[in-house]
Protein backbone atom coordinates (compact mmCIF):
# COMPACT_ATOMS: atom_id res chain seq x y z
CA UNK A 1 0.00 0.00 0.00
CA UNK A 2 1.27 3.47 -0.78
CA UNK A 3 2.59 5.10 2.38
CA UNK A 4 0.61 8.20 3.35
CA UNK A 5 0.28 10.54 6.33
CA UNK A 6 -3.48 10.99 6.49
CA UNK A 7 -4.82 14.23 7.98
CA UNK A 8 -8.48 13.68 6.99
CA UNK A 9 -9.53 10.05 7.03
CA UNK A 10 -13.04 10.62 5.63
CA UNK A 11 -11.82 12.26 2.41
CA UNK A 12 -8.34 10.68 2.20
CA UNK A 13 -6.48 13.99 2.43
CA UNK A 14 -2.78 13.66 3.19
CA UNK A 15 -0.24 16.02 4.70
CA UNK A 16 1.40 16.14 1.24
CA UNK A 17 -1.93 17.39 -0.18
CA UNK A 18 -1.82 20.30 2.27
CA UNK A 19 1.71 21.22 1.13
CA UNK A 20 0.60 20.91 -2.50
CA UNK A 21 -2.39 23.17 -1.82
CA UNK A 22 -0.25 25.82 -0.13
CA UNK A 23 2.28 25.62 -2.98
CA UNK A 24 -0.54 26.36 -5.43
CA UNK A 25 -1.52 29.43 -3.44
CA UNK A 26 -4.48 28.05 -1.46
CA UNK A 27 -3.39 28.82 2.09
CA UNK A 28 -6.50 29.98 3.89
CA UNK A 29 -8.40 27.23 5.72
CA UNK A 30 -11.57 27.74 3.62
CA UNK A 31 -9.50 27.61 0.42
CA UNK A 32 -7.65 24.50 1.55
CA UNK A 33 -10.98 22.90 2.44
CA UNK A 34 -12.37 23.60 -1.03
CA UNK A 35 -9.18 22.49 -2.80
CA UNK A 36 -8.49 19.27 -0.89
CA UNK A 37 -11.99 18.41 0.36
CA UNK A 38 -10.77 17.98 3.93
CA UNK A 39 -13.53 18.31 6.53
CA UNK A 40 -16.33 17.56 4.05
CA UNK A 41 -16.89 13.89 4.86
CA UNK A 42 -19.12 12.16 7.40
CA UNK A 43 -17.23 13.59 10.41
CA UNK A 44 -17.48 17.18 9.05
CA UNK A 45 -14.10 18.12 10.49
CA UNK A 46 -14.45 16.71 14.00
CA UNK A 47 -11.32 14.60 13.60
CA UNK A 48 -9.38 16.76 11.16
CA UNK A 49 -10.05 20.50 11.57
CA UNK A 50 -7.67 21.10 14.49
CA UNK A 51 -5.07 18.76 12.98
CA UNK A 52 -5.18 20.47 9.58
CA UNK A 53 -5.21 23.99 11.05
CA UNK A 54 -2.17 23.19 13.20
CA UNK A 55 -0.36 21.60 10.23
CA UNK A 56 -1.18 24.64 8.06
CA UNK A 57 0.33 26.95 10.68
CA UNK A 58 3.51 24.83 10.50
CA UNK A 59 3.59 24.80 6.70
CA UNK A 60 2.88 28.50 6.18
CA UNK A 61 4.68 29.77 9.29
CA UNK A 62 1.58 31.74 10.24
CA UNK A 63 0.74 32.54 13.88
CA UNK A 64 -1.91 29.93 14.90
CA UNK A 65 -4.01 32.58 16.67
CA UNK A 66 -4.61 34.25 13.28
CA UNK A 67 -6.06 31.07 11.78
CA UNK A 68 -9.88 31.01 11.86
CA UNK A 69 -11.87 27.76 11.74
CA UNK A 70 -14.04 27.01 8.71
CA UNK A 71 -17.73 27.90 8.98
CA UNK A 72 -19.67 25.45 11.10
CA UNK A 73 -22.76 24.35 9.21
CA UNK A 74 -25.75 22.17 10.12
CA UNK A 75 -26.19 19.34 10.70
CA UNK A 76 -23.33 18.81 13.16
CA UNK A 77 -23.74 15.02 12.97
CA UNK A 78 -25.17 12.54 10.43
CA UNK A 79 -28.96 12.87 10.72
CA UNK A 80 -31.73 10.96 8.90
CA UNK A 81 -33.52 13.57 6.81
CA UNK A 82 -36.94 12.26 7.81
CA UNK A 83 -36.42 13.79 11.27
CA UNK A 84 -36.51 17.24 9.67
CA UNK A 85 -39.46 16.66 7.35
CA UNK A 86 -42.12 17.88 9.77
CA UNK A 87 -40.16 20.72 11.34
CA UNK A 88 -42.44 23.78 10.95
CA UNK A 89 -39.41 25.83 9.90
CA UNK A 90 -39.14 23.65 6.80
CA UNK A 91 -42.60 24.73 5.58
CA UNK A 92 -42.78 28.42 6.29
CA UNK A 93 -42.19 29.73 2.79
CA UNK A 94 -45.31 30.50 0.69
CA UNK A 95 -44.37 28.23 -2.23
CA UNK A 96 -43.66 25.22 -0.03
CA UNK A 97 -46.21 22.43 0.08
CA UNK A 98 -48.10 22.56 3.37
CA UNK A 99 -47.44 18.87 3.94
CA UNK A 100 -44.17 16.98 3.55
CA UNK A 101 -43.50 15.65 0.05
CA UNK A 102 -43.47 12.04 1.27
CA UNK A 103 -47.13 12.35 2.31
CA UNK A 104 -48.17 11.79 -1.32
CA UNK A 105 -46.47 8.41 -1.52
CA UNK A 106 -47.94 7.50 1.85
CA UNK A 107 -51.46 7.82 0.39
CA UNK A 108 -50.61 5.55 -2.52
CA UNK A 109 -49.50 2.67 -0.30
Amino acid sequence: MGSKIVVCRCEDVTRADLEHSVARGYRDIEEVKRYTGFGTGPCQGKECLAVVATALAEITGEDPSFIAPFTSRPPLAPTPIKLLARDPAAHRFPDDPAEPVAAASEEET
Partner: protein
Protein backbone atom coordinates in the same frame (compact mmCIF):
# COMPACT_ATOMS: atom_id res chain seq x y z
CA UNK B 1 -17.12 -10.47 8.30
CA UNK B 2 -20.02 -11.32 6.03
CA UNK B 3 -21.74 -14.63 6.67
CA UNK B 4 -20.44 -14.95 10.22
CA UNK B 5 -22.42 -14.84 13.42
CA UNK B 6 -21.09 -13.03 16.46
CA UNK B 7 -22.36 -12.99 20.02
CA UNK B 8 -22.88 -9.74 21.87
CA UNK B 9 -24.49 -8.20 24.93
CA UNK B 10 -27.62 -6.21 24.12
CA UNK B 11 -26.32 -3.22 26.10
CA UNK B 12 -23.17 -2.81 24.04
CA UNK B 13 -22.58 -1.17 20.69
CA UNK B 14 -22.13 -3.02 17.43
CA UNK B 15 -18.53 -1.75 17.34
CA UNK B 16 -17.78 -3.05 20.85
CA UNK B 17 -19.18 -6.46 19.87
CA UNK B 18 -16.99 -6.47 16.75
CA UNK B 19 -13.87 -5.58 18.77
CA UNK B 20 -14.62 -8.31 21.29
CA UNK B 21 -15.15 -10.90 18.55
CA UNK B 22 -12.06 -9.94 16.55
CA UNK B 23 -14.01 -8.61 13.55
CA UNK B 24 -12.42 -5.55 12.17
CA UNK B 25 -12.39 -3.84 8.75
CA UNK B 26 -15.82 -2.28 8.07
CA UNK B 27 -15.42 -0.27 4.88
CA UNK B 28 -13.01 1.36 2.46
CA UNK B 29 -12.17 5.02 2.16
CA UNK B 30 -13.63 7.28 -0.50
CA UNK B 31 -10.65 7.99 -2.71
CA UNK B 32 -7.82 5.50 -2.27
CA UNK B 33 -10.00 2.67 -0.91
CA UNK B 34 -7.79 2.28 2.13
CA UNK B 35 -9.25 0.01 4.81
CA UNK B 36 -11.41 1.76 7.39
CA UNK B 37 -12.84 0.86 10.76
CA UNK B 38 -13.62 2.31 14.21
CA UNK B 39 -11.13 4.79 15.66
CA UNK B 40 -12.76 7.01 18.31
CA UNK B 41 -15.55 4.69 19.58
CA UNK B 42 -17.50 7.86 20.40
CA UNK B 43 -19.52 8.45 17.24
CA UNK B 44 -17.44 11.35 16.02
CA UNK B 45 -14.75 10.17 13.61
CA UNK B 46 -16.85 8.65 10.82
CA UNK B 47 -14.54 5.62 10.66
CA UNK B 48 -17.01 2.88 11.63
CA UNK B 49 -19.80 3.52 9.13
CA UNK B 50 -21.51 0.28 8.22
CA UNK B 51 -24.80 -0.98 6.82
CA UNK B 52 -26.80 -2.20 9.80
CA UNK B 53 -30.18 -3.93 9.28
CA UNK B 54 -30.38 -2.54 5.75
CA UNK B 55 -29.66 1.09 6.71
CA UNK B 56 -26.44 2.53 5.27
CA UNK B 57 -23.86 4.79 6.94
CA UNK B 58 -24.76 4.05 10.56
CA UNK B 59 -22.04 4.53 13.14
CA UNK B 60 -21.33 1.06 14.50
CA UNK B 61 -20.08 2.51 17.79
CA UNK B 62 -23.38 4.33 18.44
CA UNK B 63 -25.73 1.57 17.33
CA UNK B 64 -26.81 -0.81 20.09
CA UNK B 65 -26.82 -4.57 19.45
CA UNK B 66 -30.15 -6.32 19.27
CA UNK B 67 -30.93 -9.96 18.58
CA UNK B 68 -30.59 -10.66 14.89
CA UNK B 69 -28.84 -7.41 13.97
CA UNK B 70 -27.20 -7.81 10.57
CA UNK B 71 -24.00 -5.92 9.87
CA UNK B 72 -22.59 -5.46 6.38
CA UNK B 73 -19.47 -3.68 5.21
CA UNK B 74 -19.77 -1.01 2.54
CA UNK B 75 -17.89 0.86 -0.16
CA UNK B 76 -15.82 -2.21 -1.07
CA UNK B 77 -15.79 -5.09 -3.59
CA UNK B 78 -15.94 -8.00 -2.89
CA UNK B 79 -15.45 -7.28 0.83
CA UNK B 80 -13.83 -4.64 3.06
CA UNK B 81 -10.97 -7.04 3.92
CA UNK B 82 -10.16 -7.85 0.28
CA UNK B 83 -11.16 -4.86 -1.83
CA UNK B 84 -10.08 -4.85 -5.48
CA UNK B 85 -10.37 -1.07 -5.74
CA UNK B 86 -7.60 -0.86 -3.13
CA UNK B 87 -5.39 -0.89 -6.25
CA UNK B 88 -6.03 2.86 -6.51
CA UNK B 89 -3.81 3.30 -3.45
CA UNK B 90 -0.90 1.48 -5.19
CA UNK B 91 -1.41 3.31 -8.49
CA UNK B 92 -1.15 6.72 -6.80
CA UNK B 93 1.57 6.20 -4.19
CA UNK B 94 2.23 9.94 -3.99
CA UNK B 95 -1.44 10.85 -3.99
CA UNK B 96 -3.81 12.05 -6.68
CA UNK B 97 -4.82 15.63 -7.40
CA UNK B 98 -8.36 15.15 -8.72
CA UNK B 99 -8.37 18.74 -10.04
CA UNK B 100 -5.85 17.82 -12.71
CA UNK B 101 -6.68 14.11 -13.15
CA UNK B 102 -6.77 13.40 -16.91
CA UNK B 103 -7.62 16.98 -17.81
CA UNK B 104 -5.31 16.89 -20.88
CA UNK B 105 -7.96 15.33 -23.13
CA UNK B 106 -11.70 15.97 -22.87
CA UNK B 107 -12.55 12.35 -23.84
CA UNK B 108 -10.26 10.92 -21.16
CA UNK B 109 -11.54 13.50 -18.68
CA UNK B 110 -15.18 12.49 -19.27
CA UNK B 111 -14.22 8.83 -18.89
CA UNK B 112 -12.29 9.54 -15.69
CA UNK B 113 -15.25 11.48 -14.27
CA UNK B 114 -17.61 8.57 -15.00
CA UNK B 115 -15.30 6.04 -13.34
CA UNK B 116 -14.73 8.28 -10.31
CA UNK B 117 -18.48 8.81 -9.88
CA UNK B 118 -19.03 5.04 -9.88
CA UNK B 119 -16.28 4.48 -7.34
CA UNK B 120 -17.06 7.29 -4.94
CA UNK B 121 -20.00 7.87 -2.64
CA UNK B 122 -20.83 6.23 0.64
CA UNK B 123 -23.00 3.16 0.90
CA UNK B 124 -26.16 2.23 -0.99
CA UNK B 125 -29.72 3.42 -0.36
CA UNK B 126 -31.72 1.83 2.48
CA UNK B 127 -33.46 -1.47 1.74
CA UNK B 128 -36.89 -0.09 2.63
CA UNK B 129 -38.50 3.31 2.15
CA UNK B 130 -39.37 5.38 5.16
CA UNK B 131 -43.07 6.30 5.31
CA UNK B 132 -43.34 7.37 8.92
CA UNK B 133 -42.38 10.95 9.45
CA UNK B 134 -42.00 11.57 13.17
CA UNK B 135 -43.61 14.62 14.81
CA UNK B 136 -41.33 17.39 16.06
CA UNK B 137 -41.34 18.10 19.80
CA UNK B 138 -40.73 21.38 21.60
CA UNK B 139 -38.83 21.84 24.85
CA UNK B 140 -38.65 25.14 26.75
CA UNK B 141 -36.20 25.27 29.64
CA UNK B 142 -34.28 27.74 31.74
CA UNK B 143 -30.93 26.09 31.09
CA UNK B 144 -29.94 23.69 28.31
CA UNK B 145 -26.63 21.88 28.83
CA UNK B 146 -25.10 20.18 25.80
CA UNK B 147 -22.77 17.31 26.67
CA UNK B 148 -23.13 14.72 29.46
CA UNK B 149 -19.49 14.27 30.44
CA UNK B 150 -17.80 15.48 33.63
CA UNK B 151 -18.30 19.20 32.84
CA UNK B 152 -21.88 18.88 31.57
CA UNK B 153 -23.08 16.63 34.41
CA UNK B 154 -21.63 19.04 36.98
CA UNK B 155 -23.11 22.08 35.20
CA UNK B 156 -26.56 20.52 34.86
CA UNK B 157 -26.57 19.32 38.48
CA UNK B 158 -25.60 22.79 39.72
CA UNK B 159 -28.23 24.50 37.54
CA UNK B 160 -31.06 22.16 38.57
CA UNK B 161 -30.03 22.33 42.25
CA UNK B 162 -30.52 26.09 42.23
CA UNK B 163 -34.05 25.68 40.90
CA UNK B 164 -33.66 26.19 37.15
CA UNK B 165 -35.49 23.80 34.81
CA UNK B 166 -32.56 22.02 33.17
CA UNK B 167 -32.29 19.86 30.08
CA UNK B 168 -29.14 17.78 29.45
CA UNK B 169 -28.49 16.72 25.85
CA UNK B 170 -25.93 13.96 25.29
CA UNK B 171 -25.08 12.07 22.10
CA UNK B 172 -23.62 8.84 23.51
CA UNK B 173 -25.25 5.46 24.22
CA UNK B 174 -24.59 6.08 27.92
CA UNK B 175 -24.22 9.30 29.96
CA UNK B 176 -20.78 9.96 31.44
CA UNK B 177 -18.59 11.17 28.57
CA UNK B 178 -14.87 10.89 29.21
CA UNK B 179 -15.48 9.57 32.75
CA UNK B 180 -16.33 6.26 31.06
CA UNK B 181 -12.98 6.19 29.24
CA UNK B 182 -10.75 7.04 32.18
CA UNK B 183 -9.45 4.22 34.39
CA UNK B 184 -8.89 6.74 37.21
CA UNK B 185 -12.67 7.43 37.32
CA UNK B 186 -14.77 4.84 35.52
CA UNK B 187 -18.33 3.52 35.46
CA UNK B 188 -19.08 3.80 39.19
CA UNK B 189 -18.07 7.49 39.29
CA UNK B 190 -20.03 8.23 36.10
CA UNK B 191 -23.16 6.45 37.37
CA UNK B 192 -22.99 8.27 40.71
CA UNK B 193 -22.77 11.66 38.99
CA UNK B 194 -25.64 10.77 36.64
CA UNK B 195 -27.72 9.72 39.66
CA UNK B 196 -26.89 13.01 41.41
CA UNK B 197 -28.00 14.96 38.32
CA UNK B 198 -31.30 13.04 38.13
CA UNK B 199 -31.87 13.55 41.87
CA UNK B 200 -31.36 17.30 41.40
CA UNK B 201 -34.14 17.28 38.79
CA UNK B 202 -32.15 17.31 35.53
CA UNK B 203 -34.04 15.93 32.56
CA UNK B 204 -31.72 14.08 30.21
CA UNK B 205 -32.01 13.38 26.51
CA UNK B 206 -29.54 10.54 25.92
CA UNK B 207 -28.50 9.41 22.41
CA UNK B 208 -29.43 12.91 21.24
CA UNK B 209 -27.25 15.21 19.22
CA UNK B 210 -27.41 18.99 19.01
CA UNK B 211 -27.30 19.23 15.22
CA UNK B 212 -27.79 22.96 14.63
CA UNK B 213 -28.61 26.32 16.14
CA UNK B 214 -30.99 28.52 14.17
CA UNK B 215 -31.03 32.13 15.46
CA UNK B 216 -33.48 33.23 12.73
CA UNK B 217 -35.94 30.50 13.69
CA UNK B 218 -38.13 31.86 16.55
CA UNK B 219 -36.08 35.03 17.04
CA UNK B 220 -38.47 36.18 19.79
CA UNK B 221 -37.16 33.22 21.82
CA UNK B 222 -33.54 33.90 20.96
CA UNK B 223 -33.30 31.05 18.47
CA UNK B 224 -33.83 27.31 18.41
CA UNK B 225 -31.42 24.45 19.00
CA UNK B 226 -32.32 21.45 16.87
CA UNK B 227 -31.66 18.18 18.69
CA UNK B 228 -31.90 14.83 16.91
CA UNK B 229 -32.93 11.88 19.08
CA UNK B 230 -32.81 8.36 17.58
CA UNK B 231 -36.40 8.71 16.30
CA UNK B 232 -37.51 12.34 16.29
CA UNK B 233 -36.44 15.98 16.30
CA UNK B 234 -36.67 18.26 19.34
CA UNK B 235 -36.71 22.05 19.05
CA UNK B 236 -35.11 23.40 22.21
CA UNK B 237 -35.63 26.97 23.43
CA UNK B 238 -33.61 27.98 26.48
CA UNK B 239 -32.82 31.11 28.45
CA UNK B 240 -29.23 30.11 28.89
CA UNK B 241 -27.05 27.64 27.00
CA UNK B 242 -24.10 25.75 28.43
CA UNK B 243 -21.82 23.99 25.96
CA UNK B 244 -19.94 21.13 27.61
CA UNK B 245 -19.22 19.12 24.50
CA UNK B 246 -15.66 18.25 25.49
CA UNK B 247 -13.10 17.32 22.88
CA UNK B 248 -12.96 14.95 19.93
CA UNK B 249 -10.41 12.15 19.79
CA UNK B 250 -7.96 12.98 17.01
CA UNK B 251 -5.00 11.26 15.40
CA UNK B 252 -1.28 12.04 15.36
CA UNK B 253 0.68 12.51 12.15
CA UNK B 254 2.87 9.57 11.14
CA UNK B 255 2.99 7.50 7.97
CA UNK B 256 -0.03 5.21 7.55
CA UNK B 257 -1.64 6.61 10.69
CA UNK B 258 -5.02 5.63 9.21
CA UNK B 259 -4.26 1.89 9.30
CA UNK B 260 -7.06 -0.05 11.03
CA UNK B 261 -5.89 -0.96 14.53
CA UNK B 262 -4.58 2.55 15.07
CA UNK B 263 -7.22 3.62 17.59
CA UNK B 264 -7.75 6.67 19.75
CA UNK B 265 -6.30 5.99 23.21
CA UNK B 266 -9.58 7.20 24.71
CA UNK B 267 -11.41 4.69 22.52
CA UNK B 268 -9.15 1.94 23.87
CA UNK B 269 -9.78 3.30 27.38
CA UNK B 270 -13.53 3.35 26.72
CA UNK B 271 -13.44 -0.27 25.57
CA UNK B 272 -11.65 -1.26 28.76
CA UNK B 273 -13.44 0.92 31.32
CA UNK B 274 -16.98 0.99 29.93
CA UNK B 275 -17.19 -2.41 28.23
CA UNK B 276 -14.51 -4.49 29.99
CA UNK B 277 -12.88 -5.33 26.66
CA UNK B 278 -9.13 -5.31 26.00
CA UNK B 279 -8.86 -3.92 22.46
CA UNK B 280 -5.71 -5.98 21.78
CA UNK B 281 -3.20 -8.39 23.26
CA UNK B 282 -0.14 -6.25 22.54
CA UNK B 283 -0.94 -2.55 22.63
CA UNK B 284 1.50 0.22 21.79
CA UNK B 285 0.48 3.51 23.45
CA UNK B 286 1.73 6.54 21.50
CA UNK B 287 1.92 9.55 23.80
CA UNK B 288 1.26 12.99 22.31
CA UNK B 289 2.20 16.32 23.88
CA UNK B 290 0.44 17.06 27.16
CA UNK B 291 -1.18 13.62 27.40
CA UNK B 292 1.28 11.81 29.71
CA UNK B 293 -1.13 11.57 32.66
CA UNK B 294 -3.92 9.92 30.70
CA UNK B 295 -1.55 7.70 28.68
CA UNK B 296 0.19 6.44 31.82
CA UNK B 297 -3.10 5.72 33.57
CA UNK B 298 -4.34 3.84 30.51
CA UNK B 299 -1.10 1.84 30.14
CA UNK B 300 -1.24 0.81 33.80
CA UNK B 301 -4.90 -0.24 33.56
CA UNK B 302 -4.20 -2.24 30.38
CA UNK B 303 -1.31 -4.03 32.11
CA UNK B 304 -3.73 -4.81 34.92
CA UNK B 305 -5.93 -6.48 32.30
CA UNK B 306 -2.91 -8.61 31.28
CA UNK B 307 -2.25 -6.73 28.06
CA UNK B 308 1.36 -6.53 26.87
CA UNK B 309 1.88 -2.73 26.76
CA UNK B 310 4.69 -0.63 25.31
CA UNK B 311 4.68 3.17 25.32
CA UNK B 312 6.52 5.56 23.05
CA UNK B 313 6.41 9.31 22.58
CA UNK B 314 4.74 10.61 19.44
CA UNK B 315 7.83 12.34 18.05
CA UNK B 316 9.67 9.00 17.88
CA UNK B 317 7.06 7.33 15.68
CA UNK B 318 7.89 7.02 11.97
CA UNK B 319 5.11 4.80 10.63
CA UNK B 320 2.53 2.11 11.26
CA UNK B 321 3.14 -1.32 9.68
CA UNK B 322 0.55 -3.83 8.51
CA UNK B 323 -1.91 -4.17 5.62
CA UNK B 324 -5.56 -4.47 6.61
CA UNK B 325 -4.63 -4.29 10.32
CA UNK B 326 -1.66 -2.82 12.16
CA UNK B 327 1.17 -5.22 13.07
CA UNK B 328 3.86 -2.88 14.39
CA UNK B 329 4.98 0.68 14.98
CA UNK B 330 8.28 1.63 13.39
CA UNK B 331 10.28 4.30 15.21
CA UNK B 332 12.54 6.93 13.66
CA UNK B 333 15.42 4.91 15.15
CA UNK B 334 14.23 2.02 12.86
CA UNK B 335 13.30 0.00 15.94
CA UNK B 336 10.06 -1.94 15.54
CA UNK B 337 7.50 -2.31 18.28
CA UNK B 338 5.29 -5.28 17.40
CA UNK B 339 1.67 -4.81 18.40
CA UNK B 340 -1.91 -5.59 17.39
CA UNK B 341 -3.33 -2.21 18.45
CA UNK B 342 -1.81 1.27 18.49
CA UNK B 343 -3.48 3.55 21.05
CA UNK B 344 -2.92 7.15 20.00
CA UNK B 345 -3.09 9.57 22.92
CA UNK B 346 -3.40 12.92 21.14
CA UNK B 347 -4.82 15.96 22.88
CA UNK B 348 -8.59 16.01 22.20
CA UNK B 349 -9.76 18.77 19.84
CA UNK B 350 -12.35 21.10 21.45
CA UNK B 351 -15.82 20.26 20.09
CA UNK B 352 -16.56 23.90 19.41
CA UNK B 353 -18.68 23.86 16.25
CA UNK B 354 -21.94 24.21 18.20
CA UNK B 355 -20.75 27.30 20.10
CA UNK B 356 -19.35 28.61 16.78
CA UNK B 357 -22.86 28.39 15.30
CA UNK B 358 -24.00 30.61 18.16
CA UNK B 359 -21.28 33.09 17.24
CA UNK B 360 -18.93 32.37 20.15
CA UNK B 361 -15.37 33.45 19.52
CA UNK B 362 -12.73 30.70 19.38
CA UNK B 363 -8.98 30.73 18.99
CA UNK B 364 -6.65 28.10 17.54
CA UNK B 365 -4.52 26.99 20.48
CA UNK B 366 -2.53 23.87 19.52
CA UNK B 367 -1.26 23.47 23.10
CA UNK B 368 -4.89 23.08 24.26
CA UNK B 369 -6.02 20.80 21.41
CA UNK B 370 -7.45 23.10 18.72
CA UNK B 371 -10.14 25.77 18.35
CA UNK B 372 -11.10 26.44 21.96
CA UNK B 373 -14.04 28.62 23.00
CA UNK B 374 -12.91 31.84 24.70
CA UNK B 375 -14.63 32.26 28.09
CA UNK B 376 -14.37 34.32 31.26
CA UNK B 377 -14.02 32.81 34.73
CA UNK B 378 -17.74 31.96 34.95
CA UNK B 379 -17.81 30.42 31.50
CA UNK B 380 -19.40 33.36 29.66
CA UNK B 381 -18.57 33.27 25.96
CA UNK B 382 -18.46 36.27 23.62
CA UNK B 383 -22.17 35.65 22.84
CA UNK B 384 -24.76 36.81 25.42
CA UNK B 385 -26.71 33.95 27.08
CA UNK B 386 -24.15 31.36 25.95
CA UNK B 387 -21.74 29.65 28.36
CA UNK B 388 -19.12 26.95 27.89
CA UNK B 389 -17.08 24.77 30.24
CA UNK B 390 -14.68 21.83 30.25
CA UNK B 391 -12.51 20.60 27.37
CA UNK B 392 -14.48 22.61 24.78
CA UNK B 393 -12.66 25.65 26.23
CA UNK B 394 -9.29 23.90 25.80
CA UNK B 395 -8.21 20.55 27.20
CA UNK B 396 -8.19 20.39 31.00
CA UNK B 397 -9.06 16.72 31.61
CA UNK B 398 -12.02 15.21 33.49
CA UNK B 399 -11.15 16.26 37.06
CA UNK B 400 -10.76 19.99 36.34
CA UNK B 401 -13.73 19.90 33.93
CA UNK B 402 -16.10 18.82 36.72
CA UNK B 403 -14.95 21.63 39.04
CA UNK B 404 -15.37 24.35 36.44
CA UNK B 405 -18.64 22.81 35.20
CA UNK B 406 -20.32 23.21 38.59
CA UNK B 407 -19.33 26.88 38.74
CA UNK B 408 -20.49 27.64 35.19
CA UNK B 409 -23.78 25.76 35.59
CA UNK B 410 -24.49 27.81 38.70
CA UNK B 411 -23.72 31.10 36.93
CA UNK B 412 -25.97 30.21 33.97
CA UNK B 413 -28.83 29.22 36.28
CA UNK B 414 -28.50 32.45 38.23
CA UNK B 415 -28.99 34.52 35.06
CA UNK B 416 -31.88 32.35 33.87
CA UNK B 417 -33.65 32.61 37.24
CA UNK B 418 -33.21 36.39 37.33
CA UNK B 419 -34.99 36.49 33.97
CA UNK B 420 -37.72 34.18 35.29
CA UNK B 421 -38.40 36.59 38.17
CA UNK B 422 -38.74 39.40 35.64
CA UNK B 423 -40.72 37.66 32.87
CA UNK B 424 -42.25 34.60 34.48
CA UNK B 425 -41.58 30.90 33.96
CA UNK B 426 -40.09 29.95 30.58
CA UNK B 427 -42.76 27.39 29.71
CA UNK B 428 -45.55 30.00 29.65
CA UNK B 429 -43.89 33.25 28.53
CA UNK B 430 -44.08 32.81 24.76
CA UNK B 431 -46.63 31.34 22.41
CA UNK B 432 -46.02 27.65 21.87
CA UNK B 433 -44.61 26.91 18.48
CA UNK B 434 -43.68 23.70 16.78
CA UNK B 435 -45.61 20.58 15.94
Amino acid sequence: MEGQTIRAFTSESVAAALVASGERVLSRSLKYHRPRTFFCMEGHCGGCLARIDGVPNLRACQTPCTTGTTIEGQNAYPSPEIDLFGAVDFLFPRGMDHHTLMTGSSILNNLASKVVRQLSGLGKLPATESHELPAVQLERVDVCVIGGGPAGLAAATAAASSGASTLLVDDQLRLGGSLLADPRLGVAVADARVAAAMAAGVRALPRSTAIAFFPEDAPEDGGVLAVATPDHLVRVVARRWVWATGGYAVNLLFADNDRPGVLAARGVGRMLVQHGIAAGERICVVVGKGMDDYANALAEALRGARVDVTTTSADQVERARGRSWVTAVELTSRRRLDCDVVAVAAMPAPASEGPRQQGCRTVLDPARGGFRVIVDRDGRTSTPDVFACGDVCGYVGPMAAATVGARVGGAAAEEALALARELGPIATTAARRGA
